[in-house]
């Protein structure tokens, strides 16, 4: 067999893909529904396969700061958690963004607020695409909707993280993390040597050589004009990302009267809803944002004047719908349908809401 085809849980596929991506270090803390990621890595002992380090930290706060240390030293490092744990990491993520450090952060989202539920949800959209921690910053946010994408987005995440020196969030959910599907695993990428790191990431704190000044990893600029300039550079970088890294998938949008906008688990339900609706003679389409930041604004604008409306389907009280409204600027109707608390919307509920939107 040429291809490495496996039947795996989303969390496990992501963990295996991390080893295959040439990841140098994983630092995490157990939390449902993503504990399989660290469990898989611990059982797989990647230290013996690639030399990858796996460490269980004392908290999510420690995990994200271990990631900061490793990222600042030029390594491919990652962590994973679920919603409450990601909330704890927000301080560290803000520092990573401020210091412009590359890393991959996985959020297998569960319902909130507070301890909430261990069931899947999509209520962490805001804390992923709007920054989440303090200050003006963004993370590239990728939303997998299959076990295959759980695997594929790890290497992609590292590539984008290093291309732009930015933290990349893989925003999954409990359903994608827990379900089993066929997955074609990528080929093994080598880990970087220290010499390669010194050449590729000359900013990294690997130890000062006598031909250069000391490298400093910091997010601190006490002078206001310097801090403002730093922020201008960050914003310019985000603009470049918006121009170059939008990812989305559309189906049946060309002639659609209504287009569903959904990512992750919701997008899978919406795929089925589109099939059913088309059989019923309803011209329904689906636009699935794959990158949530950058958001597929141009695609939305393209269809805004053609359709009767957009329906944002989310497992939340309505978070992504705010961004859709900002993009559409009143050119068409924008409705939201969501379930919360770990409940996944059904195709019937979605089609019912589509009909309401048309009428």
């Amino acid at each position: 067999m040429d291809k490495n085809v496996r039947l795996m849980k989303g969390n496990e596929a992501l963990a295996e893909a991390a080893i295959l991506a040439g990841c140098d270090g994983y630092f995490g803390y157990p939390i449902t529904p993503q504990s399989e990621i660290m469990e898989y890595l611990m059982a797989e002992q990647p230290m013996h396969r690639t030399g990858m380090v796996v460490l269980q930290a004392e908290s999510e706060i420690a995990s994200i700061n271990m990631v900061y240390g490793g990222a600042g030293a030029g390594k491919r490092v990652m962590t994973s958690s679920s919603s409450p744990g990601i909330s704890l990491m927000q301080e560290g993520i803000s520092y990573l963004a401020g210091a412009e450090l590359p890393c991959v952060i996985v959020n297998v989202v569960r319902g909130g607020p507070g301890l909430g539920t261990i069931q899947p949800a999509q209520s962490d959209y805001f804390q992923s695409v709007k920054g989440g921690g303090h200050g003006d910053y963004k993370m590239i946010t990728l939303a997998p909707f299959s076990v295959q994408e759980m695997a594929d987005f790890v290497a992609l995440g590292f590539d984008l993280a290093f291309k732009y020196r930015i933290p990349v969030m893989i925003l999954s959910d409990g359903a994608i993390g827990q379900m089993m599907e066929k997955v074609v695993l990528p080929v093994q990428r080598p880990r970087w040597t220290e010499q390669e790191i010194r050449e590729m990431s000359p900013w990294a704190t690997v130890g000062r050589t006598k031909d250069r000044h000391n490298n400093i990893i910091t997010s601190l600029n006490l002078k206001s004009d310097v801090q403002e300039e730093h922020n201008r550079q960050l914003q310019a970088k985000y603009k470049t990302i918006i121009e170059n890294e939008v990812r989305y998938e559309e189906s049946y949008c060309e002639d659609a009267e209504v287009i569903l906008i959904a990512y992750g688990t919701s997008a899978r339900i919406c795929q089925k809803a589109v099939d059913i609706a088309r059989h019923q003679g309803i011209k329904l389409g689906l636009l699935r944002p794959i990158s949530l930041f950058p958001f597929p604004e141009a695609a939305l604008i393209k269809y805004a004047e053609k359709v009767k409306g957009f329906l944002s389907v989310e497992m939340s009280a309505g978070q992504m719908v705010e961004d859709i409204r900002l993009v559409v600027e009143g050119k068409t109707k924008v409705a939201h349908y969501g379930r919360m608390g770990g409940i996944v919307p059904t195709t019937d509920e979605i089609i019912e809401n589509v009909k309401n939107l048309i009428n």
Binding site: G25, Y68, A99, K210, N214
Partner: protein, 261 residues
């Protein structure tokens, strides 16, 4: 010394009668510390150690949040600046990924013994192969002299203006004795830098701490009791005297844990 001064400070004229100079690895910048503060001396001792052991290419420091937040401006090694209290987590990440490097944290008492207690205890408990330099002056200096976990009973600060009361604010935390109990610490000592004799002892301790990381047997933890004359609202001379009379009885100097031969 394997270090060549002129490579780093080529623009500084060297007088003929030079008897004492900034060590090459201290960057050519005026220190931001108050006159009489121990930070500058401690920075120098660490940089002398890196020079003498010839480990610059393999040394990474972690700066804290506190008075020494800008330590990377003065110390010539590669440095990462951590979020408040998280230096030991950063050091863990680096040391695990570069097991042959010398990784040190530089932290004050607010950073290490209050907000960073968990990171400190767990790094020590895992036996991370790092050096922790802990500067304890019993107060939050940078934010203007607030009560720290290490503030002595009865000591006046801006948030204990009538003196630290144990019934409200609890007891000063002896982090150094605490971590010495953990099997993950290899070398634990408490020193000061307020007299030439103490500076020499502190230098010996810091150098030993760095050398011991070669054994890969766990954390080397060096506390340096220091004055904060501004925060304590004393002259530097009075602050050192007060430190000897009040801090040292509570935080006695000397080795607490040394590797068995």
């Amino acid at each position: 010394m394997s270090f060549e001064t002129h490579k780093f400070n080529s623009h500084i004229a060297v007088p003929e009668n030079l008897v004492y100079a900034k060590t090459p690895l201290m960057n050519d910048k005026p220190l931001s510390y108050c006159p009489g503060c121990g930070h500058g001396t401690i920075h120098r001792l660490i940089m002398e150690t890196v020079e003498e052991l010839d480990i610059l290419e393999d040394t990474i420091g972690i700066a804290p949040v506190g008075c020494s937040v800008l330590a990377y401006e003065f110390m010539g090694t590669d440095v990462q600046q951590a979020a408040h209290g998280r230096a030991c987590a950063l050091a863990t990440g680096i040391s695990r990924l570069y097991p042959d490097k010398y990784v040190f944290t530089y932290q004050g008492d607010g950073d290490l013994a209050a907000i960073g207690t968990a990171e400190t205890i767990h790094a020590c408990n895992r036996g991370e192969n790092i050096v922790i330099i802990f500067v304890n002056n019993g107060i939050y200096g940078m934010t203007g002299g607030q009560m720290a976990p290490t503030t002595l009973p009865g000591m006046k600060t801006s948030t204990s203006p009538f003196g630290r009361e144990q019934k409200d604010a609890g007891y000063p935390l002896k982090m150094t004795e605490l971590v010495a109990h953990l099997p993950g610490t290899y070398y634990v000592t408490r020193q000061s830098v307020h007299t030439p004799v103490n500076v020499r002892k502190a230098k010996k301790a810091i150098k030993k701490a760095f050398e011991l990381t070669r054994h890969k047997k766990g954390v080397s933890f060096v506390e340096l009791v220091s004055n904060c004359n501004s925060g304590w609202k004393m002259t530097p001379v009075d602050a050192n005297k007060w430190m000897e009379e009040n801090m040292f009885p509570f935080y006695p100097l000397g080795d607490i844990k040394v590797p068995s031969k």
